[in-house]
Structures are given as structure tokens and as C-alpha cells.
């Protein structure tokens, strides 16, 4: 468990919690990224401004980290381009179908004690663990 980073994890998680509270308190919206970004694809121009501002904020936050810490944060991609494209397609389709992702169901939904979100979170974590077990152990071992 030498990769475990509990302090930065807890602090970062609390910031994510504060961000979610702010969006609900000020605007009444759930900070679910698949929903926020998905709404940008809907036809019509209504209700897009706040979504763009949130996405812009994500980028500003990430860049602010780079400029204040002087360090670049690592983004290590585990898969080839075709696999990343396939994974992206599945994530987009699945989050739209299931009505949320890690942020909307996993944080905001659980914080509201939503039965749907608790079930969805258990299902997607379990499904992801099985997927990683198959690709990293079963297939890697067979190759």
C-alpha cells in the first residue's frame, strides 16, 4: 500500500465536498459532472451558461494548482488510443443511461441518502473492480 496518499486524498475530497455544497446552496444544482457536461449537448441554448462556467472552473482549478505549486500533476494513461476511445464511449453511454457518475451518484447522491445513488455506486465500483481484475490479471496472465 505504498501508493496510499491519505492526507492529500482527504483534503482534496473535502474540497470536492465544499464545491458540491456551494453549487447546491447557491444555485440548487447537483454537482454531477456527467450531467453537467451532458446538458451541454442538449439542443437549445437555455441552461448552458452555468454548465460552461463550471467546466471552465475545473480547468482554472487544475491550472491554478500547476501555477501555485510549480509542479505538473501526473496523468498516466493505462491504455492505448483505441481502448481509450472505446472506454470513453462506454462511460458516456453508461453514465447517461444510469443517470450519473462518481460525482453525481457517488458523492451528491450518497450525501442525500438516495437509494438509487447508493445502489448505482456499489454497482459501478464492483463492475470496475471486475473489469480491472479481468484485464490486469486474467488476460495479462494468459498473454
Amino acid at each position: 500500500m505504498e501508493n496510499f496518499t491519505p492526507y492529500s486524498g482527504l483534503f482534496g475530497g473535502m474540497l470536492i465536498g465544499i464545491a458540491s455544497v456551494l453549487l447546491l446552496f447557491a444555485n440548487g444544482h447537483i454537482a454531477g459532472i456527467s450531467g453537467i457536461v451532458g446538458g451541454l449537448l442538449a439542443p437549445g441554448s437555455g441552461e448552458k451558461g452555468w454548465r460552461w462556467m463550471f467546466v471552465l472552473g475545473l480547468w482554472i482549478g487544475a491550472l491554478a494548482y500547476v501555477f501555485t505549486s510549480g509542479a505538473v500533476f501526473p496523468v498516466q494513461i493505462p491504455a492505448s488510443w483505441p481502448l481509450m476511445a472505446a472506454a470513453g464511449l462506454i462511460v458516456g453511454f453508461g453514465t447517461r443511461m444510469g443517470g450519473g457518475c462518481t460525482s453525481g451518484h457517488g458523492i451528491c447522491g450518497i450525501a442525500r441518502f438516495s437509494k438509487r445513488s447508493i445502489v448505482a455506486t456499489v454497482v459501478f465500483i464492483a463492475s470496475a473492480i471486475v473489469t480491472v481484475f479481468i484485464t490486469r490479471h486474467l488476460l495479462a496472465g494468459a498473454a
Binding site: S8, N27, G28, R51, V55, A62, A86, R96
Partner: protein
């Protein structure tokens, strides 16, 4: 405050929330797919950081949501936009299971992927474009089904 000021306040609050969210994702390293795979790989060199991140977020959000939702309306809007569905339909389970497969393959979920676009890595852009295509594809299929369903 007039309507224009309220609209500006809403946009600013949204921006501020995004900034905090993005900072949180970067500081917790949840933007790094390798970190996510480390959590999902329970049979390998397991990294429980994701659980601590969720715990940190819930530690704040759970009590605060309770207080916020007791208010008659949000600060800059007339009503809370909350999901109204409560039933566990096959669509919810199926969607979550599919999402998990994509998450396990890539180590990316929507928030970190969109945030990681700032790295200008081509594979991040490919993932996000494919993700948008996947969302559009579902919307198309759902719309078609709705059109064929008798009332």
C-alpha cells in the same frame, strides 16, 4: 438584486464551485488514471486513496446538504433541481454496470477526464470526445424508443 444580478451571481457561484472541484480532483490525484486503477486493482498493489477522497467529500456534503435542503430555495435560484426518480430500474443498474466497465478500462470517469483536458494529452481528448459521442448515442436511442412506444 435584480434578475441580471442574480444571473451573474449564479454564473460566478458555478465558476467558483468548478474551481474548488478541479482543485480537489488534482490535489487528491483523482485526475490520474493510474491512481484510480490502483484503487480498482484489489488483487494487485492496492491503493485505498479513492475511498478516503469519497469519505472527505461525504464528511462535508452529508451534513451540509441536510442544512441546505432545509432552506426554502437556493440563494440565487427559485428552486432546487434534484433528481425525482426513486425506483431502482434496470436502466439505472445497467447504466452503472456499463459505466464501471469503461471506468475500469481507462481509469477515467467524467470529472477527472474533463479536468485532465488541460494537460493537452491526445488520449484525454480522445476519451472525452468518445464520452460525448456515447452520451449522444444513448440520447438518440432513448428518443427513438420513446417515439415508438405506444401511450
Amino acid at each position: 438584486m435584480n434578475a441580471q444580478h442574480t444571473r451573474a451571481a449564479r454564473l460566478l457561484a458555478s465558476l467558483a464551485s468548478g474551481v474548488l472541484f478541479g482543485l480537489g480532483l488534482v490535489i487528491s490525484q483523482m485526475v490520474n488514471p493510474a491512481k484510480i486503477i490502483g484503487f480498482l486493482d484489489v488483487a494487485g498493489n492496492w491503493d485505498p486513496t479513492l475511498l478516503v477522497v469519497m469519505a472527505g467529500a461525504l464528511l462535508i456534503a452529508t451534513p451540509a446538504f441536510r442544512l441546505v435542503l432545509k432552506r426554502p430555495h437556493p440563494l440565487f435560484a427559485t428552486n432546487f433541481s434534484l433528481p425525482i426518480k426513486t425506483d431502482l430500474e434496470p436502466r439505472l443498474i445497467g447504466g452503472a454496470a456499463l459505466f464501471g466497465i469503461g471506468w475500469g478500462l481507462s481509469g477515467f470517469c467524467p470529472g477527472p477526464a474533463v479536468t485532465a483536458l488541460v494537460t493537452l494529452e491526445p488520449s484525454v481528448l480522445i476519451f472525452v470526445l468518445a464520452m460525448l459521442a456515447g452520451a449522444l448515442l444513448f440520447d438518440r436511442l432513448a428518443m427513438r424508443r420513446q417515439a415508438h412506444e405506444p401511450f
